[in-house]
Symmetry: C2
Subunit: 464 residues, 2 copies
Amino acid sequence: MANGRIEGVLRHADSTHQAALERWFALLRIPSVSAQPAHAADCAAAAEWVRAELAELGFEAALHATPGQPCVLAHHPGPGGNAPHLLYYGHYDVQPPEPLELWTTPPFEPTRTQGPHGERVVARGAVDDKGQVCTWLAAFRAWHAVTGGLPARVTVLVEGEEEVGSPNLEPFLLTQRAALAADAAVISDTNMWDIHTPAITTRLRGLVYVELTLRAATRDLHSGLYGGSALNALNLLTRILGDLHDTQGRVRLAGFYDRVRPVPPEQAASWGALGFDEREFLGQIGLLQPAGEAGLPALERLWARPTADINGLWGGYTGPGAKTVIPGEARAKLSFRLVPDQDPAAVLASFRRFVAERLPPGIEAAYEVFGQSPGIEVPTHSPLIAAARAALAEEYGREPVFVGSGGSIPVVESFKRVLGLDTLLMGFGLDDDQVHSPNEKFDLACFTHGLRAHIRLLGHLGPG
Amino acid sequence: MANGRIEGVLRHADSTHQAALERWFALLRIPSVSAQPAHAADCAAAAEWVRAELAELGFEAALHATPGQPCVLAHHPGPGGNAPHLLYYGHYDVQPPEPLELWTTPPFEPTRTQGPHGERVVARGAVDDKGQVCTWLAAFRAWHAVTGGLPARVTVLVEGEEEVGSPNLEPFLLTQRAALAADAAVISDTNMWDIHTPAITTRLRGLVYVELTLRAATRDLHSGLYGGSALNALNLLTRILGDLHDTQGRVRLAGFYDRVRPVPPEQAASWGALGFDEREFLGQIGLLQPAGEAGLPALERLWARPTADINGLWGGYTGPGAKTVIPGEARAKLSFRLVPDQDPAAVLASFRRFVAERLPPGIEAAYEVFGQSPGIEVPTHSPLIAAARAALAEEYGREPVFVGSGGSIPVVESFKRVLGLDTLLMGFGLDDDQVHSPNEKFDLACFTHGLRAHIRLLGHLGPG
């Protein structure tokens, strides 16, 4: 372990901190919204920004076109010899900023404001995932500046479609399997336990995301002239989706829980010891009591139980005032969060049967699937996890905790299945970061400790 | 009865038919959408168009400002003596044309196309209510041209907020009670039985229109990080509204049917004799089977039973692609069609209780009410109804039928309650007019027979 070298690199990072912030802010100013076709050029600009950054740091870096947004793929040879080879993954795309009226500052103009833990940066993508990507980019830069290279061999993959379900990532992994060979992967797209306590995430939920369209009458109808005779697509859609959960909050799809494993007692005990305060967690967002399955501990509901959520629903007249239509069509976007061993295809099929069983004759249901990935678990005993535990413990002065996450990072499953790689999930977000919401932020303390932790991680992996 | 005079006026109307069409088309070109604030000036222009038209025909005609769109109020003295005094009512406002992409021709450019019954005119408001208003305006014009006056004393009231629930009409009736005095009211805003069979409508359903907003979390949430713990406003809204009907299609609001009278056997028999083909009625709009209460005849469900319809619903992410949010807020517009003796205020209160009983602690429901009117029945034995039966029988060569309508014309109830007037509902629309939908149309045959029937009606009422 070259602790002297690490300290030198950390000092350099501290002395060039302002420049690291400015690079991060430049990336945040690019409105790379992958879900909205109007932002395709912005996605390309963000990809090029990342490529150029890596090229400056001694990487051989290139953009790779896909049917959607381009991928950045870059290689750094590291110190040679038998240094470990890591694959860093991130994404440069962001969620749509809407609803715009709820932002207190422009979503694509990073703004420094004061929070309970000091300064923070408010912008779409502040943390997810531009801010986290910039922690390890800044770590690379510091090592490069001080030593002229990196202490490990590094491959970087930054994609631009994570927020729309990464439809083109898996084909890319398949065709670039050789170029992506590594010993393990590193991703910073998860949270700390709290501002003082670093975390390594060992569980992720999977996702099925589907848009359902119900088509009834061939046009919208006058509710007076047809009400009582013509089927109302919104009445039907609410009836079907209102039936998705039972009174105990369990999802009523057939077979939904068949392959859901109970949480092992020692894991449940370790989660219980974290002292998670669900009342406070929900109080921050104005809620008085939990939803979800009755009778289960909060962290089990969030990390180890599957869910069904309507993410969007629309139909009929939604403008100002009154319009008495019976809508001919109604649509909903739904996501199912999955846990290990649930089969996304089986969940989707069960949902389609659930809808089909509730359709009157002649009513059509159409489906568009935007994402399917299983839940995963990461093994906790590996040299990389050991190095990460040491790096985090040194940076924060306390041991990191092993946690789950209710979110989905499908690439972790793809890396395992396609490339044979386990992934270290070491992230620096906080629960109140408003990820995917207006006023997304990243605390400066998280950014700074994050980049320092990445410097330490590389130092622990490199030749002594 | 001055049948010779009537024939002369009819001949004049026939010979000036093209000019009548052009006046109607001029009114259709004004996009007087009362629900959309951007169209306020267009509403004012439509009001002025009607005022000027009446002024040309010997009326003393004026615009009256309201807190919303202006009313046109006009008086014609008629022939003097003890001629009957009629109040003609109509509305110059129209429904929003959206969704625009479903129109085959521009909604505010009246377009003559061919249909199964000859030419028709396609435009927003073609029939509802501009086309119908223009039938009696053209009848006035023909009488005025041939005789220099009208055979009855006539007051005209044309409002501009019927499509948004007439929020300012009742105060106007109250303050203008003296100016609106008459023997009876005439409204053309209903349908014929079919293209060959005229109809007088004797039943109308009432309406409660309400917008419901559910507020859960203070912002949209990431469905991975919060799914399983935070309540989803759309999950809750679909659960509540999906519960509005039982498996037999009955509305589950407490007390909803308590004051609903069964249809008298003779009325049920007369409706049965109309030979209504619900399969064909629904087939025209692409539906295979009826919705609504199980086990009841179609016309009873459409005319004499109350309903609950969701007219619009929205929440969460509704743009292209996938966004995994748990929406903090969700909204729905609902209407309840009511039958005589149901109390709109009681229905609204019952709906609010229905929602409140299903709200978890801390979740807020807000309501905006856009309309409340009871269902009504019109007596069928009156001199005006007798004159209308005669006029329609002569024009069509067959007796008119007495029908119900599932729609609401709240002003009929207001006229009875505030002004003490019964209303003749003699309208010339057809079921396939696509009222409130894209490609609204009015058959030229309906327009032409309508204006001739109005000429006859005035002739039958006037001095012999």
